[in-house]
Amino acid sequence: MRPEDRSYLDSHEWAKLDGDIVTIGITDFAVEQLGELVYLDLPDVGRTLDKGEAFGEVESVKAVSDVNSPVAGEVVETNNGLPDDLDALQNDSLNGGWLIKVKVTGADALDGLKNAAAYEEVVASES
């Protein structure tokens, strides 16, 4: 099973809460489905995101896909070097290949997202 310290979206993004900062990335399953990555677009720091809003694009040899924000809030940091060196995203998307950090308000930021067990069912249905 994937890490239980975070929540997941059906569209294969993950969100990990630490204080009022949520780190966001895409799952290894998403990367595997995309295949060999060629391009990543991340938002500017300071942009405000709605829950579910597309904030970036990830493109592979095969396809291009939007990346959606699991939470609402303000982008406070992006994984700067990642677009120019996609190895961490390709091989370690759950850790070193994180995409953005978002400052959220309220303790219910992750409400409505799936836990690791529920996300596992999504993966199983698409495998």
Partner: protein, 363 residues
């Protein structure tokens, strides 16, 4: 009239081999086919550097027999068949009355009174209906589901590997498009020096008994398994047209720059010929583009100096050039700064000569 469009997903006799090799299997034109065996880019490089092996048994195989077969096909297809020598393959098309392309295909003149044909899997049933309605005195057979198939071995080492498998000399198919029968431990193999990569290569038409052992032996001799994802990269690098992309019903062979596929078109009588002769010069042309990072994909709009001039047909990430490449139809003769609308963002692309990677198929 055969309208056996089936909802069952077909699989080639190599389905178990593909799964055993860890292939990602995907639906394609009613078949379950290998998209890749782990790396589209790595497989593309293997074909250019050594040799790759493709299972293309989804492609439809037709056989036409009888004393009128060549003459009837000559009138039914865009290309001339009457003057096609026995022992040679030829690339041509099925056209509709208005000159639009219904499919592209290869004919193999296996005898004076016998022509073998391979057409796109996606067009199999439509092609069969068209051809059987255009041929009246010719025996037509659809061999696609006879348990055999087509293997393609492509790349600079393909001749060496095939000669080693055959053990019967290496003087087969001296020229591009030559046909041959070569010995093998599993009986004679019918081969053609054809392919869809731009490399020196062969397509091997195998029987139900031959397909698995020949596939396994060619891998053992050093060919790398290559999936459909890489096949698309390789064919676009070589600027070989793909039905549904560069060519379709709204495009004529003249638009597509494929006059060689309708040899003799100015004087021959064939379906679509009158329309082609009555047309003026094409108002569009197929152009090649390279991009920086993002792949210009099918349907993206092309602009020249800010004016819309066309649309992308195909785009892939080229393993050989290590950059995105694409084709698109543009208004003929436009020149200036080209950009493409990448999902709402205008980014520059560069017009490129075609093919993107030089052909070695005749070498």
């Amino acid at each position: 009239m055969a309208t056996s469009s089936t909802e069952t997903v077909l699989q080639t006799p190599l389905a178990n081999n593909h799964e055993g090799l860890g292939a990602k299997m995907v639906p394609f034109a009613g078949w379950k086919m290998p998209l890749d065996y782990g790396s589209i880019l790595g497989e593309s490089k293997a074909v250019r550097a050594t040799a790759g092996l493709f299972d293309v048994s989804h492609m439809a195989r037709f056989l036409f027999k009888g004393p009128h077969a060549a003459a009837e096909l000559d009138a039914a297809l865009g290309g001339s068949i009457l003057d096609q020598p026995v022992g040679k393959a030829r690339y041509t098309m099925i056209l509709q009355d208005d000159g639009g392309i219904m499919d592209d295909l290869i004919t193999y003149r296996t005898d004076n009174d016998e022509i073998f044909m391979v057409v796109n899997a996606a067009n199999r049933h439509r092609d069969w209906e068209i051809l059987t309605s255009r041929l009246h005195q010719t025996e037509c057979c659809d061999l696609t589901e006879d348990g055999g198939g087509i293997l393609a071995i492509q790349g600079p080492d393909s001749h060496k590997i095939l000669a080693e498998l055959s053990g019967g000399g290496s003087d087969f198919c001296p020229a591009f498009l030559d046909l041959a029968e070569i010995p093998s431990p599993w009986g004679d193999l019918f081969i053609a020096r054809t392919g869809y990569t731009g490399e020196h290569g062969y397509e091997i038409f195998v029987t139900a008994e031959q397909i698995v052992p020949v596939w396994e032996k060619l891998l053992e001799l050093g060919a790398a398994p290559v999936g459909l994802g890489s096949r698309d990269v390789l064919r676009l690098e070589a600027c070989l047209a793909l039905y549904g992309h560069e060519i379709h019903e709204k495009i004529t062979p003249l638009d597509a720059g494929l006059r060689f596929a309708i040899k003799g078109w100015k004087t021959r009588e064939f379906i679509g010929g009158d329309a082609l002769r009555a047309m003026g010069d094409p108002t569009i042309e197929l152009a090649g583009f390279t991009a920086e990072k993002r792949v210009p994909r099918e349907g993206y709009a092309i602009f020249c100096d800010g004016e819309p001039v066309g649309e992308i047909c195909s785009g892939v990430y080229s393993a050989t050039l290590d950059r995105p490449i694409a084709t698109g139809y543009i208004k003929k003769g436009v020149d200036g700064a080209f950009t493409v609308d990448f999902r709402g963002k205008q980014l520059p692309v560069k017009r490129s000569a075609m093919p993107f990677v030089a052909h070695n198929s005749r070498g």
